[in-house]
């Protein structure tokens, strides 16, 4: 071959540079064949007729003769050799002397598998031929795709495993919640009998000093047991994310003073100083959750007194306002046994106390601080523990978010009047399937001067309400025939002038969802068991007239 610079490629060099070349003469016979074609296509040999061994796949041609092939010079072709045994991609060049066409081509293969099927090897290609490189690149692309698919599959498997684990955890959590709710109900029901009857005995009087002391021990022990149950329930609720805070007007100072008054007697009897400091900046009214704030204060003050044998316990309430953000601070500093630095984080973990000696000496479930910390977190703060900066003892402190509110008598009611000694006039219907609880409720209500009648299930309650007038219905939740919610729904839906009778739930099912379903059914109030006399008196005061005279 001769180019314009006079360079000539000998047949040997042509064969080396283009091992997949073909030479076709004017008679359309094969004049010579590249070695690599000859290796795999035995029929494509010198002398063979082009039409017998080769077919032009692209472009499509109706007829083939030398002139037609010559007209294709410089144009890309795909050619199948020997009944598709080998496909080539290339182009013709015309050699005027000795009047022939030379096909310069490479195998038209897309994968190393296809190449393997032809029987060719990488070494059959010219070194400058990029086809093997393309095949390797394709192989590498497939490897990357395999990696991607494998990783994606692994992700899916991990996702599925996580989903299975999540479902199992949710099922276990739901089972635990159901168990706790059931146990709470089962424990509260007999406790209602113990605590209620003990309170009735104390209220009715007539006991000698020794008997009264024994009954007070019963009351105290039942109260302690109730606190443990409440702690367990709170912990379960917080853990399950079910605990929601209230947001209503409150006086934080009054909450603290109320808590301190509960501990005052105990502190004084043990010779401890119980000091309270309320900064003047603390507003009289703020919006927050007084019940949960009180719970945390009770826990921290109770702990401080429990672990302090001499000296003092000091509670301090503060307030600061930064723009729209208002923060209420609270701290309790004691001169008690103190907590080792290493144990200060541990004591916030559930069911953990500072050490085993603490558990032996002071008892407790080890839930109080864990619950308090989580309540404080829910209120937008952090409960911290440190050493008493003034010496021996501990300091527990937190700050929480509060909202400021204009102080009105309505927004922030003062402390409730003590109603225990008051009496009420009215007819009260008790719907309660448990005989002991019926008797406790009857005795408590009779003590408050009420006229009482009891029924054993929800169906009887509906009949009694529609049959005769009542001033108040105290409705248990779980009862045979119709439960409290179903009975209330029947009463509220009845076409009767008595369907609007006040109904207050009185139940040992005290979960938030139980409370909510009572109100959704149309009940007007909710009393948890064991029934607290003060709370019962509050309910009676809301719905009954005060009794004048005996």
């Amino acid at each position: 071959m001769d180019d314009r610079s006079g360079f000539t490629l000998s047949p040997q060099h042509l064969a080396e540079a283009f091992p997949f070349h073909l030479v076709v003469d004017r008679d359309l016979r094969i004049a010579s064949v590249g070695a690599s074609i000859a290796k795999v296509c035995g029929a494509v040999r010198p002398g063979a007729v082009w039409m017998d061994v080769a077919r032009i796949v692209r472009p499509r041609l109706r007829n083939v003769d030398f002139e037609i092939l010559q007209a294709l010079c410089g144009r890309g072709l795909v050619i199948a050799l020997e009944n598709e045994r080998l496909s080539l991609r290339g182009h013709f060049v015309y050699e005027a002397e000795p009047d022939r066409l030379v096909l310069l081509a490479s195998p038209f293969v897309a994968s190393s598998a296809e190449l393997a099927r032809t029987g060719l090897h990488v070494s059959d290609f010219a070194l400058h031929d990029a086809v093997p490189d393309l095949l390797i690149a394709n192989r590498v692309r497939d490897t990357s795709l395999s990696d991607a698919k494998r990783l994606a599959k692994r992700l899916v498997e991990k996702g599925e495993a996580l989903e299975v684990a999540r479902s199992a955890a949710e099922a276990a959590s739901a089972a635990k919640s159901r168990f706790l709710a059931r146990m709470s109900h089962e424990l509260r029901t007999p406790m209602n009998g113990i605590l209620g009857m003990a309170e009735v005995l104390l209220a009715e009087g007539g006991l000698d000093a020794r008997q009264e002391d024994s009954v007070r021990v019963m009351c105290g022990s039942s109260g302690a047991l109730l606190e443990i149950i409440n702690d367990l329930l709170d912990y379960a609720r917080i853990e399950a994310g079910f605990l929601e805070l209230e947001s209503r007007p409150m006086s934080p100072a009054e909450v603290l003073l109320d808590v301190v008054s509960c501990f005052r007697h105990d502190a004084e009897s043990r010779g401890l100083q119980l000091e309270v400091e309320i900064e003047p900046a603390v507003p009289r009214c703020l919006v927050g959750d007084p019940k949960r704030l009180r719970q945390v204060m009770v826990n921290l003050l109770g702990n401080a007194l429990k672990f302090t044998h001499c000296g003092s316990v000091r509670a301090r309430l503060g307030f600061r306002s930064e723009g729209e953000r208002a923060r209420l601070s609270f701290s309790v500093v004691d001169t008690g046994v103190g907590i080792d630095e290493g144990a200060r984080d541990r004591i916030f973990e559930p069911f953990v106390q500072a050490d085993e000696e603490t558990t032996r000496q002071f008892g407790g479930t080890g839930l109080g601080l864990s619950i308090s910390r989580q309540l404080v977190e829910l209120m937008g703060g952090e409960l911290r523990c440190a050493a008493n900066p003034e010496g021996r003892g501990s300091c527990f402190a937190f700050e929480i978010d509060v909202k400021q509110v204009e102080c009105t008598a309505q927004a922030c009611p003062g402390p409730k009047a003590v109603l225990e000694t008051r009496r009420f006039a009215g007819r009260v219907l008790i719907a309660e399937d448990n005989a002991i609880n019926r008797k406790v409720a009857e005795r408590l209500l009779q003590h408050f001067g009420c006229e009482v009648h009891s029924v054993e299930n929800g169906r009887y309650a509906v009949e009694a309400v529609l049959r005769e007038p009542w001033d108040l219905v105290l409705m248990d939740y779980h009862m045979p025939e119709l439960d409290g919610v179903q009975a209330t729904t029947c009463i509220r839906g009845a076409a009767s002038e008595r369907s609007g009778v006040p109904i207050v739930a009185m139940t040992a099912s005290v979960r938030d969802e139980d409370r909510q379903s009572c109100f959704e059914a149309g009940m007007n109030g909710f009393l948890g068991k064991p029934v607290n006399r003060q709370h019962l008196a509050d309910v009676l005061a809301q719905w009954l007239r005060p009794r004048v005279g005996p």
Binding site: H121, D133, I136
Partner: protein, 181 residues
């Protein structure tokens, strides 16, 4: 080295000793990635740490592991989709070995950070060849022996390899005598 090499080490360990042992080896070697990516280059040190950790945990000398890895490499790459490419690299054992440099040259286009060894094969007779092995990485001779024997298995042959000249301090060439048994 490319992730494909580390994956082959993983495959060798997992197929013989299970996932748990591999997790221990990975942990001891400080391999933090959850999985190796075939086409991603990793530091040589990581591969050497994997082999070192495997040696300690499996209580197997490093040369034995490298030899096993060399044999496994041929099986592994064939299984990972490179069988056709291997088939297309030579129709006989010695042809394949003679074409190794060409194959590595072409592979370097797809694996731009590849630092492949170089092989010069001089066939002595039908069953014997003298193979010069050049590599910038020292200590991998047992792996070359394993590779040659694994390649022989692809052709249904038993191969004996003898190191006849070890590299010196200034020299990066080992010479093997390779015999078809």
């Amino acid at each position: 080295m490319y992730g494909l090499v580390n994956k082959a080490v993983e495959d060798l360990v997992v197929s013989n000793h299970g996932e748990e042992v591999w997790d221990r080896i990975r942990g001891q070697a400080g391999a933090t990635d959850a999985a190796f990516i075939s086409m991603d280059p990793y530091p040589d040190e990581l591969t050497f740490r994997l082999v070192g950790a495997a040696s300690e945990i499996l209580e197997t000398p490093v040369p034995d592991l490298l030899h096993a890895f060399g044999r496994h490499w041929m099986l592994y790459t064939a299984r990972e989709g490179y069988a056709d490419l291997l088939d297309a690299s030579g129709s006989s054992f010695f042809e394949f070995v003679a074409n190794l440099d060409g194959l590595h040259t072409r592979l370097s286009l797809a694996f731009p950070e590849l630092r492949p060894p170089s092989f010069v094969c001089q066939q002595v007779d039908d069953r014997t060849a003298r193979l010069e092995y050049f590599s910038e990485r020292a200590g991998l001779q047992p792996m070359v022996v394993g590779l040659l024997q694994g390649l022989g298995e692809r052709f249904g042959l038993r191969i004996e390899v003898e190191l006849v000249e070890a590299r010196g301090e200034t020299d990066d060439c080992d010479v093997f005598e390779v015999r078809i048994v």
